[in-house]
Structures are given as structure tokens and as C-alpha cells.
């Protein structure tokens, strides 16, 4: 599969390439999130569970990467589709549950 033929390279921006040229000292958290990492952070992103610095890297990545935005949309669509799976049970309350319920009607209707 040819990639990016009709779409911009996700990292096609004027900044430095993602690897080898990151700013900041050696002890800092890496300054960029790449796609492979992004797909593992999506849920924490949805759940507001990313530490602030990570969150800003994720948001920067999303601005630059069409493909990861597509991925994010797909995760959201998946969650939406799951929300459509709710259904009523085919099961019935057991006889003993119904009996207990009916005995309440008697005490209630005194």
C-alpha cells in the first residue's frame, strides 16, 4: 500500500524531524509523540488521564498528523457503535423474585 500519495506527510511541517533533533536536555521527557505511541495513549487522552506535558505533546501531534486524527475518529466511532449495543434482556425475573414482589403488593395494599 502506498502511503501518503494523496495526503500530506503527517510530519510535513517546518520544524525539525521527529528524531535526533529534539530540543531540551537529555533528562527531559521526549518532546514528540510518534504515531505508534499515540495509538496507546488514545484512551488516557479520552479519559483525561494524561500528565500535562504528555497531553500537550499528544495535542501537538494531533495538529500535525491527519492519520492519527483519523485514528482518533475511529476510536470515537467505535465507542459510539458500542453505545448502540445496549438492549433489553430476554430474561425474566424468576418465580421467587416475582413472588417476593407480589407479597409486597399485599402488605402495601392493606
Amino acid at each position: 500500500m502506498e502511503t501518503g500519495s494523496d495526503r500530506p506527510n503527517p510530519m510535513d511541517h517546518s520544524g525539525p524531524p521527529p528524531d535526533g533533533a529534539s530540543v531540551g536536555d537529555a533528562n527531559s521527557v521526549p518532546d514528540e509523540v510518534v504515531c505508534e505511541e499515540f495509538v496507546e495513549l488514545v484512551t488516557d487522552y479520552f479519559e483525561d488521564a494524561l500528565p500535562p506535558r504528555k497531553l500537550s505533546h499528544v495535542e501537538e501531534h494531533l495538529v500535525l498528523c491527519d492519520w492519527c486524527r483519523t485514528y482518533l475518529d475511529q476510536m470515537q466511532a467505535t465507542i459510539g457503535a458500542l453505545g448502540g449495543l445496549g438492549e433489553r434482556a430476554l430474561a425474566e425475573p424468576s418465580e421467587s423474585v416475582l413472588a417476593a414482589l407480589r407479597s409486597r403488593q399485599e402488605t402495601d395494599g392493606r
Binding site: M1, T3, G4, N9, P10, M11, P17, P18, D19, V34, C35, E36, E37, V39, E40, V42, T43, D44, E47, A49, C65, W67, C68, T70, Y71, D73, Q74, M75, A77, T78, I79, G80, A81, L82, G83, G84, L85, G86, E87, R88, A89, A91, E92, P93, S94, S96, V97, L98, A100, L101, R102, S103, R104, Q105, E106, D108
Partner: protein
């Protein structure tokens, strides 16, 4: 995500009153709407469908008999869930199951959301960036709304490892908030998120296969 749980809708007073009065129509409605969710919680503690179904029935029996003791200090949902988890745990003990919920396998925790083959390797131009990117799904995702897609998704959910299935079902199908899911399944927030992530990622991949396959 909004809460749509029938046990968390702020209708506690009416529901409790209906239960106290033995209102059968209201009870059946509540029973049917909450059954899948309650069974999901029970399956967090016991292995078999049949036992989980028994646990749900026993829970309702205890709820109907004991509704007078519900004083509204917790929500009705929390109260019912606490009865449910206690019933499930006692089954668990009675049957001497060797594996409490929290130790069932890794839950697929080591599996990446996306296979590494779909990303560029270290010797390629953009290591870690997409080599085979996802293709946009049309909006609204009409294919996802088809009965076939729904069935696929349902099957895929049923086939997730037990812990992922419970968490994804309760969060995304039943709409319970994260804290409540942690509570009823006795999970840490981190574990809950990991299980949710693995489950959702796997289900997205199944839908992608379906959508892309159908497009091809």
C-alpha cells in the same frame, strides 16, 4: 460520556417507591433494562453464564425483600451493586473457584493497539509513524450502523478476554462512569483504563477490517 445507566438516572426515589409497592410493570422494566449490565458485573466474579444469571436473580430477590432498608444514603444503583457483588463473591467462595476476577490472565495487556507492522521501522524515514495508516470512515459511519456491523461488534465484544469484556461493556455499552466500574469490579483506575484501552483498540481493529473489507 454521559451516564445512561438506568440505575444512575436520578430516579431513585420513584424506582424505590415502585419496588416498595411491588409494582410489577415497573419492576419488569427495571429488570430488563439492567439485566445485561448486572450480568456483566456478575461475570466479573464468576465464570459461567448460568451462575452469573443465578446471581442476578438472587440479587433482585434480596433487593425486593430488603428495599425497606434502602435509606437513600447511597444511590440506589450503588446499593444494588453492593448486593450484587456480595452475592457474586459468595458464589465465588461456595464454588471454590481457583481464580478471582483480578487474576484472570493478563487480559491481553501486552498486545499493542496496532500491530507494529503498520508503523515504519527504525531504518525507515519516519520511525514510529504510520506505514499503513488508517483510512477515514465515512461520516456518519453508515456501515457501522448496519445490523451486520452491530452483530460483528457484539460477537467481537463477547470474545474479548473476560476483564476487557466486563470493562468495555460496562463503560461503553451500559454507560457507567469509570469510578463506578472500578468500584463494582474492584479495579484500580489504572487497570480499568488499561483494560478499556485494550478492549476498545481490539474492537476498533475488528470494525476497521469490516469497513475496509466492505469497501474493497
Amino acid at each position: 460520556m454521559t451516564t445512561k445507566s438506568p440505575l444512575s438516572t436520578g430516579r431513585d426515589v420513584q424506582v424505590a417507591a415502585a419496588l416498595k409497592a411491588g409494582d410489577e410493570a415497573a419492576f419488569r422494566d427495571l429488570f430488563e433494562r439492567t439485566y445485561p449490565m448486572m450480568k456483566r458485573v456478575a461475570l466479573g466474579y464468576v465464570d459461567s453464564d448460568a451462575v452469573a444469571e443465578e446471581v442476578v436473580q438472587e440479587t433482585w430477590l434480596a433487593v425486593v425483600k430488603g428495599i425497606d432498608r434502602f435509606e437513600g444514603r447511597s444511590t440506589l444503583g450503588t446499593w444494588i451493586f453492593s448486593i450484587l457483588t456480595n452475592q457474586a463473591k459468595s458464589h465465588h467462595g461456595r464454588e471454590r473457584r481457583a481464580r478471582p476476577f483480578s487474576s484472570i490472565g493478563s487480559g491481553g495487556a501486552d498486545e499493542p493497539a496496532i500491530h507494529a507492522d503498520r508503523f515504519q521501522k527504525d531504518d525507515e524515514a519516519w520511525p514510529g509513524h504510520w506505514a499503513i495508516p488508517p483510512r477515514p470512515w465515512q461520516k456518519p459511519e453508515r456501515r457501522l450502523l448496519s445490523l451486520e456491523a452491530r452483530d460483528r461488534l457484539k460477537d467481537a465484544l463477547a470474545q474479548l478476554p473476560a476483564r476487557q469484556r466486563a470493562v468495555v461493556g460496562l463503560r461503553d455499552v451500559d454507560g457507567l462512569p469509570a469510578e463506578e466500574v472500578c468500584d463494582v469490579l474492584n479495579l484500580s483506575p489504572e487497570n480499568q483504563r488499561v483494560l478499556l484501552h485494550r478492549g476498545r483498540s481490539r474492537l476498533r481493529a475488528i470494525l476497521e477490517q469490516y469497513v475496509d473489507g466492505a469497501d474493497a
